[in-house]
């Protein structure tokens, strides 16, 4: 019997690719955001709203992950040309390697901000670094006001949390106070911004957060 000591992270391969992605994006001066939520919280809707409201000198690109179909990419390519759909097949999250392939499909010299829409899932995407600069997490009202406490590993590393579908607040009787109370134990750093991609409420505050982030990263 012979014991070999190793001490290596099992996601070493993913982490190394994530670092390479981050380096590649920074070299091009691109800010990248990893957008995560449950299926149907409104990630693609948020991107549709965001892309149409960004200033014209801010050129965006999207990598969008789904198990199947290119429907999200089709929706987004009505607004911008640099959109790539990544189909993960049975994979429940994007990996850094898939993002690296996705980057090859884009003309990065023409991009200022890269949105990566992750596969709709509240567990696995949170465990995989893609090389992003910031994590945007969405929670939509129909999912229930208990989700921050139930999925702490998604919300803990978030840089901004968007509470979407606020237009349904009254119908659903959603308790925003309970979300804030849970966040006080899990993440007090990320601002919580209530929005509605339907009515447009709160989108100005989200766009302010985003523009601020773009400006601070270009100063660095």
């Amino acid at each position: 019997m012979n014991k070999v000591q190793v001490i290596e992270s099992v996601l070493k391969a993913n982490d190394a690719v994530a670092r390479a992605n981050r380096h590649r994006l920074h070299q091009q001066g691109i800010l990248s955001l990893n957008i995560m939520s449950a299926p149907g919280s409104g990630k693609t809707s948020l991107l549709e709203q965001t892309i149409s409201h960004l200033p014209h000198d801010c050129r965006s690109a999207v990598l969008v992950g789904d198990l199947q179909t290119s429907r999200d990419a089709e929706r987004l390519s009505r607004l911008i040309s640099q959109v790539t759909q990544i189909n993960t097949g049975s994979g429940c999250h994007l990996s850094a390697a898939m993002v690296a392939d996705g980057l090859d499909s884009l003309d990065l010299t023409q991009v200022d901000i890269l949105f990566i829409e992750n596969v709709g899932n509240m567990v696995c995407p949170a465990a995989h670094d893609l090389g992003e600069d910031a994590r945007v997490v969405l929670l939509s009202l129909p999912e229930g006001d208990d989700k921050v406490a139930k999925y702490p590993t998604l919300f803990q590393p978030a840089d901004v949390i968007l509470l979407n579908k606020m237009d349904l607040l009254e119908i659903l009787g959603f308790d925003c106070g309970s979300v804030r109370a849970d966040l006080s134990k899990i993440n007090t750093r990320a601002p919580l911004i209530p929005i509605s991609c339907r009515s447009g409420v709160g989108l100005d505050e989200w766009l302010r957060w985003l523009t601020n982030r773009i400006n601070t990263s270009s100063v660095e």
Partner: protein
């Protein structure tokens, strides 16, 4: 949910680490599991059983050791043990932390056993 993927990554890493021991087979693998990776230990065990089949690590035992989450407060720099559902600093009550430990899965050691000549022939016959 991502246990199968992790088991596969782990196996790749194990096989790579032992590639300079051609006369040995893997009989045990020890990993440190951070709670923030949200691994279900039983599912990881099953995933390991299925990925190792037919490899040098076939029949190997997977030892999983759970480690606590260590967090450092970004607000007051205090280091403390966090829980999966609470990252609140005991000093300043903020929940704005850097995770120092507990968000990784770490391969710690591999136990090898020499393959005896007879065993190898047997292995080659099927």
């Amino acid at each position: 949910m991502h246990e199968l993927y992790l088991a596969q990554e782990l196996l790749n890493q194990v096989l790579q680490s032992v590639s300079d021991h051609p006369d040995a087979k893997v009989c045990a693998v020890e990993i440190e599991v951070g709670p923030m990776k949200q691994i279900v230990l039983e599912a990881m065990e099953l995933a390991w059983r299925s990925v190792v089949e037919g490899s040098l690590a076939d029949q190997s035992v997977l030892h999983q050791v759970e480690v606590p989450i260590t967090a450092q407060c970004r607000n007051c720099t205090r280091t403390f043990e966090a829980a999966i559902d609470s990252y609140q600093c005991p000093e300043c009550r903020q929940a704005d932390v850097q995770i120092m430990k507990g968000h990784e899965i770490i391969l710690k050691s591999i136990t090898l056993e020499e393959i005896k000549a007879g065993e190898r022939e047997q292995g080659a016959s099927h």
